[in-house]
């Protein structure tokens, strides 16, 4: 007899997400992912000055804030016919690099780690490392004062929870250190971004922040500190856990899904834009023995609204995305639409990027027997953080060379004013995965604006062909021995680094009739 459980809210993610699973014989048999909050930014942008879009869409999400600014600026660049000078691209890449470093750190330590450790094992720590003893003291004093929020309450630790006191106490110390490190990474981005969350310097045609040598030196010094933490703490932690106590989870491939991966590609290394830190590509039904990469074709993207709270429409390309709210639609269960590539659901994010790039470290883990799943996702995220750190050094060197050239430019000033009409797509890779913004301009104003964001791909509901979305599919077969303690479910979902606020789209207000909510 299957038992259905609902986890609402899924916490330690961005946004509001509800997950329902049906459990039979201790395993997930079926799953539904449901976005439960909507704001309606895109509808609001209609009729506005196109340049507002990069500022407004940054507010899609305060965690991966400026990736939207970036994708939006790229869509505007295309629609305005602006050519971003290499200096502008370098600064864009550097501030985005800073965002990546912070975002991946906060995801692993602040949002995920608590699912993998039994925090109370700290009490058994017998070592005499002063810093670790201070952590032990701290946690024990919380326990004694009977106030261990927000670290508890929690799901009960299961067989996969690490309970070696030495490991746990180190993880908690790194949790506290990482909180400072990711704040510092954001300060690094603010050197040119102005402030965080939400940078202020990325606009159509390039950036607004004219750099000086001191800023380059400051960025580099702060990057040194980040590099040290990534190389000496973050990556070793992920590998230690992933190949040690969590290896069984990795081997089981818990949280695999459809094994379809998509990367739009991002981060130019050279002015010609050919060589990318993250190459673009598509993998369909991955065979680990022989990974086949197809070319990415943006025309193959469609969005289905069959199970979304939108008026029914057949799947269309985002350029023609027009939906109307229908909160009373029978069978609908999410504010998230269902994007498909060539009709197939795709996983986007670090794992997709590293597989598409055929990154030797991640391929090595797969060859060792780790199946793509929750653990591999964390590993891919750590590995690519290092790639971004290394790329930042490369961009700083390039920027210094560029700055000393006569006629150094950061902005295409000739294309600052909106065109009479135009359209453009902006593709980018956010920390959470493939991100696309599409804009149509008419009479110098926005006629239509659409964004298909990483969590829309990952958290999507079913589509016309009844194919489950990637979260839903990845939950199938996940062990849940105790329905009251579905810790594996939240582990799998969190491994994607969900970001729901941006995943939710909206509509044309004119035709919207909102009816009374009937609780069935």
């Amino acid at each position: 007899m299957a038992k259905k459980i609902t986890i609402d809210p899924i916490t330690r993610i961005e946004g509001h997400l509800k997950i329902e699973v049906e459990i039979e014989n201790g395993k997930v048999k079926n799953a539904w992912s449901s976005g439960t909050m909507a704001r309606g930014f895109e509808a609001m942008l209609t009729g506005k000055d196109p340049r507002d879009a990069s500022y407004i869409t940054s507010r899609f999400c305060g965690v991966c804030y400026s990736v939207h600014q970036m994708a939006s600026a790229r869509a505007l660049d295309a629609a305005f016919g602006a050519e971003v000078p290499w200096g502008g691209t370098l600064i864009r890449n550097l501030v985005m690099g800073a965002e990546y470093i912070y975002d991946h750190l906060i995801h692993f330590y602040q949002l995920s780690a608590l699912d993998y450790i039994d925090i109370m094992a700290i009490a058994e720590y017998k070592g005499n490392d002063k810093e670790l003893l201070a952590v032990k003291d701290k946690i024990l004093s919380l326990v004694k004062s009977n106030d261990t929020y927000p670290l508890t309450p929690r799901y009960e630790p299961d067989e996969f929870c690490v309970n070696d006191p030495e490991l746990v106490i180190m993880a908690v110390k790194h949790y506290i250190d990482a909180l400072k490190m990711n704040a510092k990474a954001r300060n690094m981005g603010a050197i040119w971004g102005g402030r965080t969350p939400h940078y202020q310097n990325i606009v159509v045609g390039g950036v607004t922040s004219y750099p000086d040598v001191n800023q380059v030196a400051r960025f580099r010094t702060m990057l040194d500190e980040q590099a040290k933490f990534v190389n000496e703490v973050y990556i070793p932690d992920v590998l230690l856990f992933g190949t040690g106590p969590l290896w069984k989870l990795a081997e089981m491939g818990v949280g695999g899904g459809h094994y379809n991966y998509l990367s739009y590609g991002a981060f130019e290394k050279e002015p010609n834009g050919k060589e990318l830190v993250f190459p673009a590509g598509v993998i369909v039904g991955m065979n680990p023995a022989e990974i086949k990469i197809d070319k990415f074709d943006p025309d193959k993207i469609t969005e289905s609204v069959k199970y979304g709270w939108y008026k029914n429409n057949k799947p269309v390309h985002p350029y023609n995305g027009e939906q109307v709210f229908d909160l009373d639609k029978k069978g609908a269960y999410s504010f998230i639409k269902a994007p498909r590539y060539n009709g197939k659901p795709m996983e986007v994010g670090p794992l997709a990027r590293m597989l598409v790039a055929k990154n030797p470290d991640i391929i090595g883990l797969v060859k060792k027997g780790a199946k793509p799943g929750a653990v591999a996702r964390h590993a891919a995220r750590a590995i690519e953080t290092k790639l971004v750190v290394d790329a930042c050094y490369h961009w700083l060197d390039q920027l210094l060379i560029e700055m000393t050239k006569p006629g150094f430019k950061i902005h295409d000033t000739n294309h600052w004013n909106p065109p009479e009409a135009g359209m453009g797509a902006g593709f980018y890779e956010a920390p959470r995965g493939a991100l696309g913004h599409w804009i149509k301009i008419k009479n110098k104003k926005i006629e239509n604006y659409q964004a298909v964001v990483p969590s829309t791909w990952n958290a999507s509901p079913r589509c016309e062909n009844e194919i489950r979305g990637q979260y839903e599919e990845s939950l199938i077969g996940v062990p849940v021995p105790d329905p009251d303690n579905p810790i594996n479910v939240v582990r799998v979902i969190r491994s994607f680094d969900p970001c729901l606020a941006c995943a939710i789209h909206i509509i044309d207000p004119q035709t919207n009739e909102i009816k009374k909510f009937i609780i069935e």
């Binding site: 986890i7 809210p9 804030y65 919380l142 506290i176 102005g194 939400h198």
Partner: protein, 334 residues
């Protein structure tokens, strides 16, 4: 032991008042221990333990409605004192969707229990959809209902960010997001607008409340006067260029680098906040410093009255310009 508890209680309050951090206190303990010739570690852990088990930390509930979590991220950015120390040492953070270990039913239970007892600080991020409750549901319940129930027994309510204060960007969308000014009419709310909330504004407000037990002095629209008293324009480093009529037109020209951003749409003249003095990210920079413009996010009119953002063509900008032409914009001595 009792004596030690009493001693540390007194110490605790003395240190709190003097703004001594835990770290400084530990150092002090170590020095004292050395003075008395006892093991530093033993002494430190005993005193600190007594101190911390004897102090009751105030419960805090943090609700997220139509939000982007940007204010949460801003909160996690506080380095002095570090956010971790605020969360672990100063407050008892019972509910915060983005931070807490609990999920699903367990998290909802904690919320319920805390509300039952009352006397907590309520922090709200994100707006409330006024067009239809179903635009924001958490744990199967409308956010509006959760907010109303939670606000009833709160000792203090702090609205963080543009959305929770006056509606912000969601106010201009079909979901008609409203801030607490409309969602909780008649309730005293400390408003900390800007998009996102300034980390210092939030840390300072929390610490002010914990230290004095009072709400800081608020202006007419509920913003603490200590942070919101003069316009950004009045304190802007580029003010002299404005007065001289030098406006930035080309971001590529190093000579124009520090000129006034008004022609690019800067809303600094119509925006009250201490951004230009305090700056952001530990003083590294702020919107205008990076060659960007102020969007007016500290004002109730944000975003609807501030668009278009990147030109001086909004009604707000035109009004200001007309005032300037009539010489009405000299520095106010209010």
């Amino acid at each position: 032991m009792n004596e030690l508890v009493r001693f540390s209680k007194n110490l605790n309050s003395i240190f709190e008042i003097r703004g001594v951090s835990r770290r400084d206190f530990l150092k002090y303990c170590a020095a004292t221990a050395a003075l008395f010739g006892i093991s530093e570690l033993e002494f430190t852990s005993k005193v600190v333990h007594a101190m911390e088990t004897s102090s009751k930390k105030p419960p805090v509930l943090w609700l997220e409605g139509q939000d982007c979590a940007g204010c949460t991220i801003a909160f996690s950015q506080i380095l002095y004192p570090p956010a971790s120390s605020i969360i672990l040492d100063k407050i008892s953070l019972r509910y915060h969707e983005t931070v807490m270990a609990a999920s699903g039913d367990i998290s909802e239970k904690v919320l319920h229990e805390t509300v039952e007892k009352g006397g907590y600080v309520l922090i709200v991020e994100g707006s409330v959809p006024s067009a239809d409750d179903r635009f924001c549901m958490i744990g199967g319940k409308a956010f509006r209902v959760i907010l109303e129930e939670t606000a009833k027994k709160a000792a203090a309510v702090i609205a963080v960010g543009a959305c929770a204060t006056y509606g912000g960007i969601p106010a201009a969308t079909p979901t008609k997001g409203v801030g607490l000014n409309k969602a909780l009419p008649g309730k005293t709310v400390i408003n900390l607008p800007t998009c996102p909330v300034h980390p210092d504004h939030l840390a300072g407000t929390i610490l002010y409340f914990l230290t004095t037990g009072k709400v800081p002095e608020l202006d007419k629209i509920g913003r603490p006067v200590m942070y919101f008293k003069e316009t950004i324009h009045d304190n802007c480093r580029r003010r002299a260029h404005f007065d001289a009529g030098r406006f930035l037109r080309d971001w590529n020209d190093p000579n124009q680098k520090d000129w006034c951003m008004f022609e690019k749409g800067c809303k600094g003249p119509m925006t009250t906040s201490d951004c230009a003095v305090r700056r952001w990210n530990d003083g590294i920079s702020f919107c205008i410093d990076c060659g960007g413009v102020c969007m007016g996010c500290a004002e109730p009119g944000f975003y609807a009255e501030m668009t278009p953002l990147y030109t001086a063509e909004s009604e707000t900008s035109k009004r200001f310009w007309a005032m300037r032409e009539s010489n009405l914009t000299d520095k106010k001595n209010s």
